[in-house]
Symmetry: C2
Subunit: 226 residues, 2 copies
Protein backbone atom coordinates (compact mmCIF):
# COMPACT_ATOMS: atom_id res chain seq x y z
CA UNK A 1 0.00 0.00 0.00
CA UNK A 2 1.25 3.47 -0.89
CA UNK A 3 1.50 5.90 2.02
CA UNK A 4 -0.19 9.30 1.98
CA UNK A 5 0.06 12.21 4.40
CA UNK A 6 -3.40 13.72 4.92
CA UNK A 7 -3.89 17.13 6.52
CA UNK A 8 -6.77 16.71 8.96
CA UNK A 9 -8.43 19.58 10.82
CA UNK A 10 -11.50 17.62 11.89
CA UNK A 11 -13.80 19.70 9.70
CA UNK A 12 -16.14 18.55 6.94
CA UNK A 13 -13.70 19.08 4.06
CA UNK A 14 -10.58 17.47 5.52
CA UNK A 15 -12.60 14.51 6.82
CA UNK A 16 -14.05 13.91 3.35
CA UNK A 17 -10.55 14.22 1.90
CA UNK A 18 -9.25 11.56 4.30
CA UNK A 19 -12.12 9.24 3.33
CA UNK A 20 -11.29 9.78 -0.36
CA UNK A 21 -7.57 9.04 0.19
CA UNK A 22 -8.50 5.90 2.08
CA UNK A 23 -11.02 4.92 -0.60
CA UNK A 24 -8.27 5.29 -3.21
CA UNK A 25 -6.23 2.64 -1.40
CA UNK A 26 -3.68 4.78 0.41
CA UNK A 27 -2.29 3.95 3.84
CA UNK A 28 -3.15 7.25 5.54
CA UNK A 29 -0.95 9.23 7.95
CA UNK A 30 -2.98 12.08 9.42
CA UNK A 31 -1.33 15.36 10.35
CA UNK A 32 -3.14 17.93 12.49
CA UNK A 33 -1.56 21.29 13.12
CA UNK A 34 -2.49 23.29 16.19
CA UNK A 35 -1.50 26.74 14.97
CA UNK A 36 -3.02 28.51 17.94
CA UNK A 37 -6.70 28.08 17.09
CA UNK A 38 -9.10 29.36 19.67
CA UNK A 39 -11.15 26.19 19.94
CA UNK A 40 -9.94 22.84 21.17
CA UNK A 41 -13.14 21.37 19.67
CA UNK A 42 -11.51 21.22 16.25
CA UNK A 43 -8.58 19.14 17.49
CA UNK A 44 -10.90 16.88 19.49
CA UNK A 45 -12.87 16.28 16.29
CA UNK A 46 -9.65 15.52 14.40
CA UNK A 47 -8.74 12.92 17.02
CA UNK A 48 -12.19 11.24 16.72
CA UNK A 49 -12.06 11.23 12.92
CA UNK A 50 -8.54 9.76 12.85
CA UNK A 51 -9.73 6.90 15.04
CA UNK A 52 -12.99 6.34 13.13
CA UNK A 53 -11.24 6.26 9.77
CA UNK A 54 -8.43 4.10 11.16
CA UNK A 55 -5.39 6.08 10.10
CA UNK A 56 -2.02 4.31 10.39
CA UNK A 57 -0.65 7.13 12.51
CA UNK A 58 -1.90 10.53 13.66
CA UNK A 59 0.54 13.29 14.53
CA UNK A 60 -0.34 16.60 16.17
CA UNK A 61 2.11 19.45 15.70
CA UNK A 62 1.91 22.52 17.87
CA UNK A 63 2.96 25.76 16.23
CA UNK A 64 1.95 28.95 17.94
CA UNK A 65 1.42 31.45 15.13
CA UNK A 66 -0.34 33.87 17.45
CA UNK A 67 3.04 35.53 18.08
CA UNK A 68 3.17 36.44 14.38
CA UNK A 69 -0.39 36.76 13.26
CA UNK A 70 -3.37 38.74 14.39
CA UNK A 71 -6.29 37.36 12.45
CA UNK A 72 -9.69 36.49 13.82
CA UNK A 73 -8.85 32.78 14.07
CA UNK A 74 -5.87 33.22 16.35
CA UNK A 75 -6.34 36.56 18.11
CA UNK A 76 -9.04 36.41 20.80
CA UNK A 77 -9.37 40.21 20.65
CA UNK A 78 -10.69 40.09 17.06
CA UNK A 79 -14.35 39.18 16.61
CA UNK A 80 -15.19 36.34 14.22
CA UNK A 81 -17.19 37.93 11.40
CA UNK A 82 -20.87 37.06 11.03
CA UNK A 83 -21.61 35.74 7.54
CA UNK A 84 -22.28 38.36 4.90
CA UNK A 85 -20.56 41.27 6.55
CA UNK A 86 -17.17 40.94 4.87
CA UNK A 87 -16.04 41.11 1.26
CA UNK A 88 -12.99 39.80 -0.58
CA UNK A 89 -10.52 37.89 1.57
CA UNK A 90 -12.19 36.88 4.86
CA UNK A 91 -10.98 38.35 8.15
CA UNK A 92 -10.60 34.77 9.40
CA UNK A 93 -7.71 34.29 6.99
CA UNK A 94 -4.54 33.05 8.74
CA UNK A 95 -1.41 34.24 6.89
CA UNK A 96 0.34 31.52 4.90
CA UNK A 97 -1.66 28.82 6.70
CA UNK A 98 -1.88 26.31 3.86
CA UNK A 99 1.75 26.93 2.90
CA UNK A 100 2.85 26.18 6.44
CA UNK A 101 0.62 23.09 6.73
CA UNK A 102 1.72 21.72 3.34
CA UNK A 103 5.38 22.34 4.30
CA UNK A 104 4.93 20.28 7.47
CA UNK A 105 3.17 17.56 5.47
CA UNK A 106 6.07 17.65 3.01
CA UNK A 107 8.56 17.07 5.82
CA UNK A 108 6.62 14.07 7.11
CA UNK A 109 6.10 12.68 3.60
CA UNK A 110 9.82 12.72 3.05
CA UNK A 111 10.48 10.94 6.35
CA UNK A 112 7.82 8.32 5.55
CA UNK A 113 8.98 7.88 1.98
CA UNK A 114 5.55 8.99 0.79
CA UNK A 115 4.95 10.79 -2.50
CA UNK A 116 1.36 11.78 -1.84
CA UNK A 117 -0.09 14.61 0.23
CA UNK A 118 -3.83 15.23 0.54
CA UNK A 119 -5.35 18.59 1.45
CA UNK A 120 -9.05 19.45 1.63
CA UNK A 121 -8.99 22.91 0.06
CA UNK A 122 -11.87 24.01 -2.09
CA UNK A 123 -11.82 26.93 -4.49
CA UNK A 124 -15.60 27.09 -4.74
CA UNK A 125 -16.86 28.02 -1.29
CA UNK A 126 -13.74 29.80 -0.05
CA UNK A 127 -12.86 31.74 -3.16
CA UNK A 128 -11.60 34.56 -0.94
CA UNK A 129 -8.62 32.49 0.20
CA UNK A 130 -5.68 32.86 -2.21
CA UNK A 131 -4.07 29.61 -1.03
CA UNK A 132 -7.10 27.45 -1.92
CA UNK A 133 -6.82 27.83 -5.69
CA UNK A 134 -5.52 25.33 -8.25
CA UNK A 135 -2.63 27.52 -9.48
CA UNK A 136 -1.40 27.80 -5.90
CA UNK A 137 -1.50 24.02 -5.36
CA UNK A 138 0.40 23.48 -8.63
CA UNK A 139 3.06 26.03 -7.63
CA UNK A 140 3.49 24.37 -4.23
CA UNK A 141 3.96 20.99 -5.89
CA UNK A 142 6.62 22.37 -8.26
CA UNK A 143 8.47 24.02 -5.37
CA UNK A 144 8.24 20.84 -3.26
CA UNK A 145 9.79 18.75 -5.97
CA UNK A 146 12.81 21.06 -6.02
CA UNK A 147 13.00 21.15 -2.20
CA UNK A 148 13.49 17.50 -1.43
CA UNK A 149 15.86 14.63 -2.03
CA UNK A 150 13.03 12.51 -3.41
CA UNK A 151 11.82 15.14 -5.89
CA UNK A 152 15.34 15.85 -7.14
CA UNK A 153 15.84 12.13 -7.70
CA UNK A 154 12.73 12.00 -9.88
CA UNK A 155 10.34 10.47 -7.35
CA UNK A 156 7.81 13.22 -7.84
CA UNK A 157 5.53 14.29 -5.06
CA UNK A 158 1.86 14.86 -5.83
CA UNK A 159 -0.35 17.25 -3.87
CA UNK A 160 -3.90 15.94 -4.11
CA UNK A 161 -6.73 18.42 -3.60
CA UNK A 162 -9.71 16.24 -4.52
CA UNK A 163 -12.33 18.78 -3.40
CA UNK A 164 -10.86 21.79 -5.12
CA UNK A 165 -13.53 22.09 -7.79
CA UNK A 166 -16.47 20.75 -5.79
CA UNK A 167 -19.24 22.85 -4.26
CA UNK A 168 -20.11 21.97 -0.66
CA UNK A 169 -23.22 19.93 -1.53
CA UNK A 170 -21.18 17.66 -3.82
CA UNK A 171 -18.53 17.25 -1.12
CA UNK A 172 -21.27 16.19 1.32
CA UNK A 173 -22.79 13.70 -1.14
CA UNK A 174 -19.35 12.21 -1.85
CA UNK A 175 -18.61 11.88 1.87
CA UNK A 176 -21.96 10.20 2.60
CA UNK A 177 -21.26 7.66 -0.16
CA UNK A 178 -17.99 6.92 1.66
CA UNK A 179 -19.84 6.43 4.95
CA UNK A 180 -18.88 9.60 6.83
CA UNK A 181 -20.95 10.58 9.85
CA UNK A 182 -20.75 14.37 9.55
CA UNK A 183 -22.10 14.91 13.05
CA UNK A 184 -18.59 13.93 14.19
CA UNK A 185 -16.93 16.81 12.32
CA UNK A 186 -16.57 20.42 13.44
CA UNK A 187 -16.34 23.26 10.89
CA UNK A 188 -17.35 26.20 13.09
CA UNK A 189 -14.80 28.95 13.75
CA UNK A 190 -16.01 29.31 17.33
CA UNK A 191 -17.45 25.98 18.43
CA UNK A 192 -17.82 25.51 22.18
CA UNK A 193 -15.70 23.08 24.18
CA UNK A 194 -18.14 20.21 23.45
CA UNK A 195 -17.99 20.88 19.72
CA UNK A 196 -21.39 22.60 19.35
CA UNK A 197 -21.30 25.01 16.41
CA UNK A 198 -22.29 28.68 16.66
CA UNK A 199 -24.46 28.53 13.54
CA UNK A 200 -23.58 32.15 12.70
CA UNK A 201 -20.05 32.32 11.29
CA UNK A 202 -19.04 31.92 7.63
CA UNK A 203 -18.04 28.28 8.10
CA UNK A 204 -21.41 27.43 9.71
CA UNK A 205 -23.30 29.31 7.00
CA UNK A 206 -21.50 27.51 4.15
CA UNK A 207 -21.97 24.16 5.88
CA UNK A 208 -25.70 24.71 6.49
CA UNK A 209 -26.20 25.88 2.92
CA UNK A 210 -24.36 22.80 1.66
CA UNK A 211 -26.67 20.36 3.44
CA UNK A 212 -29.68 22.36 2.26
CA UNK A 213 -28.47 22.33 -1.36
CA UNK A 214 -27.78 18.60 -1.14
CA UNK A 215 -31.29 18.17 0.26
CA UNK A 216 -29.90 16.14 3.15
CA UNK A 217 -30.76 16.67 6.85
CA UNK A 218 -27.93 18.58 8.56
CA UNK A 219 -26.63 16.44 11.47
CA UNK A 220 -24.49 19.28 12.90
CA UNK A 221 -24.88 20.15 16.59
CA UNK A 222 -25.82 23.84 16.40
CA UNK A 223 -26.05 25.87 19.60
CA UNK A 224 -29.29 27.49 18.42
CA UNK A 225 -30.92 24.06 18.00
CA UNK A 226 -29.83 22.86 21.47
Amino acid sequence: MKKAVVLLSGGLDSTTTLAIARGNGFACYALSVDYGQRHAAELAAATRIGQLLQVCEHQFLKLDLTVLASSALTDPSVTVPIHGTNRGIPATYVPARNTIMLSLALAWAEVLGSQDIFIGVTAVDYSGYPDCRPDYIDAFEKMANLATKAGREGNLLKVHAPLINLPKHDIIRRGLELGIDYSMTVSCYQADASGWACGQCDACHIRRAGFAAANIPDPTYYQDKR
Copy 2:
Protein backbone atom coordinates in the same frame (compact mmCIF):
# COMPACT_ATOMS: atom_id res chain seq x y z
CA MET B 1 12.24 52.31 5.70
CA LYS B 2 11.10 49.08 4.05
CA LYS B 3 10.62 46.14 6.39
CA ALA B 4 12.33 42.80 5.82
CA VAL B 5 11.91 39.46 7.58
CA VAL B 6 15.34 37.86 8.05
CA LEU B 7 15.72 34.19 9.00
CA LEU B 8 18.39 34.09 11.69
CA SER B 9 19.92 30.89 13.06
CA GLY B 10 22.88 32.57 14.73
CA GLY B 11 25.37 30.94 12.35
CA LEU B 12 27.90 32.59 10.07
CA ASP B 13 25.71 32.66 6.97
CA SER B 14 22.45 33.98 8.46
CA THR B 15 24.35 36.61 10.47
CA THR B 16 26.06 37.87 7.31
CA THR B 17 22.69 37.89 5.57
CA LEU B 18 21.19 40.04 8.34
CA ALA B 19 24.10 42.48 8.06
CA ILE B 20 23.58 42.69 4.29
CA ALA B 21 19.82 43.33 4.69
CA ARG B 22 20.58 46.04 7.22
CA GLY B 23 23.31 47.49 4.98
CA ASN B 24 20.76 47.66 2.15
CA GLY B 25 18.59 49.92 4.27
CA PHE B 26 15.90 47.49 5.44
CA ALA B 27 14.25 47.65 8.84
CA CYS B 28 14.99 44.07 9.93
CA TYR B 29 12.62 41.67 11.71
CA ALA B 30 14.56 38.58 12.76
CA LEU B 31 12.86 35.19 12.89
CA SER B 32 14.52 32.24 14.61
CA VAL B 33 12.92 28.83 14.45
CA ASP B 34 13.63 26.24 17.11
CA TYR B 35 12.78 23.11 15.17
CA GLY B 36 14.06 20.76 17.84
CA GLN B 37 17.79 21.29 17.37
CA ARG B 38 19.98 19.53 19.86
CA HIS B 39 21.97 22.58 20.88
CA ALA B 40 20.64 25.66 22.64
CA ALA B 41 23.95 27.36 21.72
CA GLU B 42 22.59 28.20 18.28
CA LEU B 43 19.55 30.02 19.68
CA ALA B 44 21.70 31.82 22.26
CA ALA B 45 23.91 33.01 19.40
CA ALA B 46 20.85 34.17 17.45
CA THR B 47 19.72 36.21 20.46
CA ARG B 48 23.16 37.87 20.77
CA ILE B 49 23.33 38.63 17.05
CA GLY B 50 19.83 40.12 17.00
CA GLN B 51 20.82 42.49 19.80
CA LEU B 52 24.21 43.39 18.28
CA LEU B 53 22.72 44.13 14.88
CA GLN B 54 19.82 46.02 16.46
CA VAL B 55 16.86 44.30 14.79
CA CYS B 56 13.47 46.02 15.15
CA GLU B 57 11.96 42.84 16.56
CA HIS B 58 13.13 39.28 17.12
CA GLN B 59 10.66 36.39 17.23
CA PHE B 60 11.43 32.84 18.26
CA LEU B 61 9.05 30.15 17.03
CA LYS B 62 9.08 26.71 18.58
CA LEU B 63 8.21 23.85 16.25
CA ASP B 64 9.11 20.37 17.37
CA LEU B 65 9.88 18.50 14.17
CA THR B 66 11.46 15.63 16.09
CA VAL B 67 8.07 13.90 16.12
CA LEU B 68 8.20 13.74 12.31
CA ALA B 69 11.83 13.59 11.39
CA SER B 70 14.70 11.37 12.34
CA SER B 71 17.73 13.09 10.91
CA ALA B 72 21.03 13.66 12.65
CA LEU B 73 20.17 17.23 13.60
CA THR B 74 17.02 16.40 15.51
CA ASP B 75 17.34 12.79 16.62
CA PRO B 76 19.79 12.36 19.54
CA SER B 77 20.14 8.67 18.66
CA VAL B 78 21.75 9.51 15.30
CA THR B 79 25.43 10.48 15.37
CA VAL B 80 26.44 13.72 13.64
CA PRO B 81 28.69 12.68 10.74
CA ILE B 82 32.37 13.59 10.84
CA HIS B 83 33.39 15.55 7.74
CA GLY B 84 34.30 13.50 4.71
CA THR B 85 32.43 10.34 5.64
CA ASN B 86 29.20 11.06 3.78
CA ARG B 87 28.38 11.54 0.12
CA GLY B 88 25.54 13.24 -1.72
CA ILE B 89 22.90 14.71 0.58
CA PRO B 90 24.27 15.05 4.13
CA ALA B 91 22.82 12.99 6.97
CA THR B 92 22.30 16.26 8.85
CA TYR B 93 19.60 17.22 6.35
CA VAL B 94 16.29 18.12 8.05
CA PRO B 95 13.34 17.36 5.75
CA ALA B 96 11.73 20.44 4.23
CA ARG B 97 13.57 22.71 6.67
CA ASN B 98 13.99 25.73 4.42
CA THR B 99 10.46 25.35 3.08
CA ILE B 100 9.07 25.39 6.61
CA MET B 101 11.25 28.34 7.68
CA LEU B 102 10.41 30.35 4.55
CA SER B 103 6.69 29.60 5.08
CA LEU B 104 6.87 30.99 8.61
CA ALA B 105 8.77 34.03 7.33
CA LEU B 106 6.06 34.45 4.70
CA ALA B 107 3.36 34.49 7.37
CA TRP B 108 5.17 37.16 9.36
CA ALA B 109 5.97 39.21 6.25
CA GLU B 110 2.28 39.29 5.43
CA VAL B 111 1.36 40.40 8.95
CA LEU B 112 4.05 43.11 8.90
CA GLY B 113 3.16 44.25 5.39
CA SER B 114 6.69 43.37 4.28
CA GLN B 115 7.55 42.26 0.74
CA ASP B 116 11.10 41.12 1.47
CA ILE B 117 12.40 37.93 3.05
CA PHE B 118 16.11 37.23 3.51
CA ILE B 119 17.58 33.73 3.87
CA GLY B 120 21.26 32.82 4.15
CA VAL B 121 21.35 29.74 1.94
CA THR B 122 24.39 29.06 -0.17
CA ALA B 123 24.55 26.68 -3.08
CA VAL B 124 28.34 26.54 -3.07
CA ASP B 125 29.36 24.94 0.21
CA TYR B 126 26.18 22.97 0.84
CA SER B 127 25.53 21.70 -2.66
CA GLY B 128 24.13 18.51 -1.14
CA TYR B 129 21.04 20.33 0.13
CA PRO B 130 18.29 20.47 -2.50
CA ASP B 131 16.58 23.44 -0.84
CA CYS B 132 19.64 25.70 -1.05
CA ARG B 133 19.67 26.07 -4.83
CA PRO B 134 18.56 29.05 -6.95
CA ASP B 135 15.79 27.17 -8.79
CA TYR B 136 14.26 26.19 -5.44
CA ILE B 137 14.31 29.79 -4.17
CA ASP B 138 12.67 30.97 -7.41
CA ALA B 139 9.96 28.30 -7.12
CA PHE B 140 9.25 29.26 -3.52
CA GLU B 141 8.88 32.90 -4.51
CA LYS B 142 6.42 32.03 -7.31
CA MET B 143 4.36 29.88 -4.94
CA ALA B 144 4.41 32.56 -2.23
CA ASN B 145 3.04 35.17 -4.60
CA LEU B 146 0.06 32.92 -5.32
CA ALA B 147 -0.41 32.09 -1.61
CA THR B 148 -0.98 35.52 -0.17
CA LYS B 149 -3.31 38.46 -0.40
CA ALA B 150 -0.42 40.81 -1.11
CA GLY B 151 1.01 38.71 -3.94
CA ARG B 152 -2.41 38.28 -5.59
CA GLU B 153 -2.89 42.03 -5.44
CA GLY B 154 0.37 42.57 -7.32
CA ASN B 155 2.55 43.56 -4.35
CA LEU B 156 5.12 40.95 -5.18
CA LEU B 157 7.19 39.32 -2.49
CA LYS B 158 10.92 38.88 -3.09
CA VAL B 159 12.98 36.13 -1.46
CA HIS B 160 16.54 37.45 -1.16
CA ALA B 161 19.34 34.90 -0.92
CA PRO B 162 22.36 37.20 -1.17
CA LEU B 163 24.92 34.46 -0.39
CA ILE B 164 23.59 31.86 -2.78
CA ASN B 165 26.47 32.05 -5.24
CA LEU B 166 29.24 32.96 -2.79
CA PRO B 167 31.90 30.56 -1.50
CA LYS B 168 32.48 30.72 2.27
CA HIS B 169 35.63 32.84 2.07
CA ASP B 170 33.77 35.55 0.12
CA ILE B 171 30.91 35.46 2.64
CA ILE B 172 33.43 35.98 5.45
CA ARG B 173 35.13 38.88 3.64
CA ARG B 174 31.74 40.51 2.98
CA GLY B 175 30.72 40.11 6.64
CA LEU B 176 33.99 41.59 7.93
CA GLU B 177 33.49 44.63 5.68
CA LEU B 178 30.09 45.01 7.35
CA GLY B 179 31.68 44.83 10.80
CA ILE B 180 30.59 41.37 11.94
CA ASP B 181 32.44 39.78 14.86
CA TYR B 182 32.26 36.13 13.80
CA SER B 183 33.34 34.90 17.23
CA MET B 184 29.74 35.68 18.25
CA THR B 185 28.26 33.25 15.72
CA VAL B 186 27.83 29.48 16.08
CA SER B 187 27.81 27.20 13.02
CA CYS B 188 28.66 23.88 14.68
CA TYR B 189 26.11 21.04 14.58
CA GLN B 190 27.06 19.99 18.10
CA ALA B 191 28.38 23.04 19.94
CA ASP B 192 28.45 22.75 23.73
CA ALA B 193 26.15 24.78 26.00
CA SER B 194 28.61 27.71 26.03
CA GLY B 195 28.78 27.77 22.23
CA TRP B 196 32.21 26.14 21.81
CA ALA B 197 32.35 24.34 18.45
CA CYS B 198 33.33 20.68 18.05
CA GLY B 199 35.72 21.44 15.20
CA GLN B 200 34.93 18.06 13.61
CA CYS B 201 31.54 18.21 11.92
CA ASP B 202 30.82 19.31 8.35
CA ALA B 203 29.78 22.81 9.43
CA CYS B 204 33.01 23.30 11.41
CA HIS B 205 35.10 21.97 8.56
CA ILE B 206 33.53 24.31 5.99
CA ARG B 207 33.83 27.25 8.36
CA ARG B 208 37.50 26.56 9.15
CA ALA B 209 38.31 26.10 5.47
CA GLY B 210 36.52 29.41 4.71
CA PHE B 211 38.68 31.41 7.10
CA ALA B 212 41.80 29.65 5.79
CA ALA B 213 40.87 30.40 2.15
CA ALA B 214 40.13 34.03 3.06
CA ASN B 215 43.55 34.15 4.77
CA ILE B 216 41.90 35.58 7.89
CA PRO B 217 42.49 34.33 11.47
CA ASP B 218 39.53 32.14 12.55
CA PRO B 219 38.00 33.67 15.72
CA THR B 220 35.78 30.64 16.38
CA TYR B 221 35.88 29.03 19.85
CA TYR B 222 36.83 25.44 19.02
CA GLN B 223 36.82 22.82 21.76
CA ASP B 224 40.16 21.43 20.55
CA LYS B 225 41.80 24.87 20.93
CA ARG B 226 40.45 25.38 24.47
